[in-house]
C-alpha cells in the first residue's frame, strides 16, 4: 500500500514537473465550456441561489450542491479524451 501511495505521489509529482497537469486542466476547462457544461451548471446555481436567498449563500453550500452535479454532467466524450491523455502520459513515463 505504501508503495501504491508512493507511486501515486511520484506520478503526481511527475505530472506537475513536466507541466502536464496544467495542460490537462486547461484542456478540460476548454472542453467543458465548449460542450455547454458550464452554462448548465450556472443555471443550476441560479436556481439554488434563488431558493436559498442571495445573501445567505455560502461557499460550502455551493460546493456541496455543485460538485456532485458537475461530475455527473460531464459528457462522455470529454471524459474519454482526458483519460486517454492520462494513459498516454503514464505509458511515456513508465520506465522513468
Amino acid at each position: 500500500m505504501n508503495k501504491d501511495a508512493q507511486m501515486r505521489a511520484a506520478i503526481n509529482q511527475k505530472l506537475i514537473e513536466t507541466g502536464e497537469r496544467e495542460r490537462l486542466k486547461e484542456l478540460l476547462r476548454a472542453k467543458l465550456i465548449e460542450c455547454g457544461w458550464k452554462d448548465q451548471l450556472k443555471a443550476h446555481c441560479k436556481e439554488v441561489i434563488k431558493e436559498k436567498g442571495l445573501d445567505h449563500v455560502t461557499v460550502d453550500d455551493l460546493v456541496a450542491e455543485i460538485t456532485s452535479k458537475g461530475r455527473a454532467l460531464v459528457p462522455d466524450s470529454v471524459k474519454k479524451e482526458l483519460l486517454q491523455r492520462i494513459r498516454t502520459f503514464l505509458a511515456q513515463h513508465a520506465s522513468l
Binding site: L41, T67, G70, L82
Partner: protein, 366 residues
C-alpha cells in the same frame, strides 16, 4: 525518491487504469471548485444576475416563427405595393419608384440636369433663336469641349504643309502617284504613268523641298543622277525616289532630264553607279553612237539653257532600261566618276560642278 525503483511497467493494467481514473477525477473536481468560487464571488459582488432580462422584455423580443414573417415579426415586401404621394406634382407613385421620380420632378440630381441641357441645346438648334444669350450660354457651358476642338483644329492647320507625308496624301487624292522619299512599299498608283508633266512646264513648287529655281544646273544634274525626278503634274514636285522608282517609267525620267539638261541628257542607272567594273575602250565607241541615237530620239521642245556640251559629256552615261542590263557594267565606269561626286553633293545641294576627271575620260574617247 527515485522513480527507477518503482517501475510502472511492473504494475497491472487495472492499477494503471485506477491511477488514471484518480487523476481524472482530481482534474474534474478542480474545475468544479474553480467554478464554484467564480459563482460565489459573483453572487457576493452582486453581478451574478446581471445578464438576466426581466420576463416582460423577454416576451417582447421573442423569436417569431410564423410563416410569412421574418424572425422579428415583420412582413416581407410590405412596401412594394404601397404608394406615396409626390409633394411636387401630387401624383401617387409606387414606393420603389418614388426616389427616381422625385429626382426628376424636382430637377435635382445628375440625370435631370443632363436631360435639361440636351433639351435646351436641341431647342436652340431647331429654333435659331435670336436670343444670343442662350447661345453664348451654351458655348460658355461647353467651353471646355468647344475650345479644345478649336484648338485642335488650329493645331492641325499649323502642321507643316510641306511635310512629305502631307504631300503624299494630297497626291493620292489627286490620283497622280508621286514618289517621295518614303518606303517603296506604298501601293501608289501606276495608272498615272501615262500622264507626263511635259504639258505643264516650269511650274515647279518647292513644297517637296526640291526647288527647281533654287537649283543650279549642276545641282539639278546631280539630283537627276540619283533621283527619279519626274515632276508631278498636280503638285509640280520632283519625285525624290530612286531612279528605279516604280511609279514612273523610264520614259518619264528621260523626258524630265531632257527637259532640264538638253536632248542628250540620258537617264543614269542607279545600280551602275555603284559598280566598279573596268572600262572597255573599244566598246565605248559603240556606246557613244548608241547614246547619240538615244539622245536624238528624245528631243523635246525645251528651252533649257543648261544643256552644254561639257555637261553632256560630264553626265553619267545611262541607257534605256531595255538595254541597260547588257551594257550596264561598261557604262558604269563612265558614270561612276560623274555620279560619285554628284552623289556626295546631291543631298546637300552644293553648287559645285561634277568632278573634273569626267571630261578627261571623254576627251580620251573623243
Amino acid at each position: 525518491m527515485k522513480m527507477e525503483e518503482m517501475s510502472l511497467s511492473g504494475l497491472d493494467n487495472s492499477k494503471l487504469e485506477a491511477i488514471a481514473q484518480e487523476i481524472y477525477t482530481d482534474l474534474v473536481e478542480d474545475s468544479c471548485l474553480g467554478f464554484c468560487f467564480e459563482v460565489h464571488r459573483a453572487v457576493k459582488c452582486g453581478y451574478f444576475f446581471l445578464d438576466d432580462t426581466d420576463p416582460e422584455s423577454m416576451k417582447d423580443f421573442e423569436i417569431v416563427d410564423q410563416p410569412g414573417l421574418d424572425i422579428f415579426g415583420q412582413v416581407f415586401n410590405q412596401w412594394k405595393s404601397k404608394e406615396c404621394v409626390c409633394p411636387n406634382c401630387s401624383r401617387s407613385i409606387a414606393a420603389s419608384r418614388f426616389a427616381p421620380h422625385l429626382e426628376k420632378c424636382l430637377g435635382m440630381g445628375r440625370n435631370s440636369s443632363r436631360i435639361a441641357n440636351r433639351r435646351i441645346a436641341n431647342s436652340n438648334n431647331m429654333n435659331k433663336s435670336e436670343s444670343d444669350q442662350e447661345d453664348n450660354d451654351d458655348i460658355n457651358d461647353n467651353d471646355w469641349s468647344y475650345g479644345s476642338e478649336k484648338k485642335a483644329k488650329k493645331r492641325k492647320s499649323d502642321k507643316n504643309p510641306n511635310s512629305p507625308r502631307r504631300s503624299k496624301s494630297l497626291k493620292h487624292k489627286n490620283g497622280f502617284s508621286v514618289c517621295t522619299s518614303a518606303s517603296y512599299t506604298l501601293p501608289l498608283l501606276f495608272s498615272s504613268s501615262g500622264e507626263l508633266s511635259n504639258s505643264d512646264p516650269f511650274k515647279y513648287n518647292s513644297s517637296s523641298g526640291i526647288s527647281y529655281e533654287a537649283l543650279g544646273p549642276e545641282e539639278l544634274r546631280s539630283l537627276l543622277t540619283t533621283q527619279c525626278g519626274v515632276i508631278s503634274e498636280h503638285t509640280k514636285k520632283m519625285c525624290t525616289r530612286s531612279l528605279r522608282c516604280p511609279q514612273h517609267t523610264d520614259e518619264q525620267r528621260r523626258a524630265v532630264r531632257v527637259y532640264f539638261l538638253g536632248p542628250s541628257a540620258i537617264l543614269p542607272e542607279v545600280e551602275s553607279s555603284l559598280d566598279n567594273d573596268s572600262f572597255d575602250m573599244t566598246d565605248s565607241q559603240s556606246l557613244i553612237s548608241r547614246l547619240q541615237w538615244d539622245g536624238s530620239s528624245d528631243l523635246s521642245p525645251s528651252d533649257s539653257g543648261s544643256s552644254k556640251t561639257s555637261e553632256n559629256q560630264g553626265w553619267g552615261l545611262g541607257t534605256n532600261s531595255s538595254e541597260s542590263r547588257k551594257t550596264k557594267k561598261k557604262k558604269s565606269h563612265l558614270s561612276l566618276v560623274g555620279t560619285a561626286s554628284s552623289l556626295g553633293s546631291n543631298k546637300k545641294k552644293k553648287p559645285k560642278p561634277p568632278a573634273p576627271p569626267t571630261p578627261s575620260i571623254y576627251d580620251d574617247i573623243n
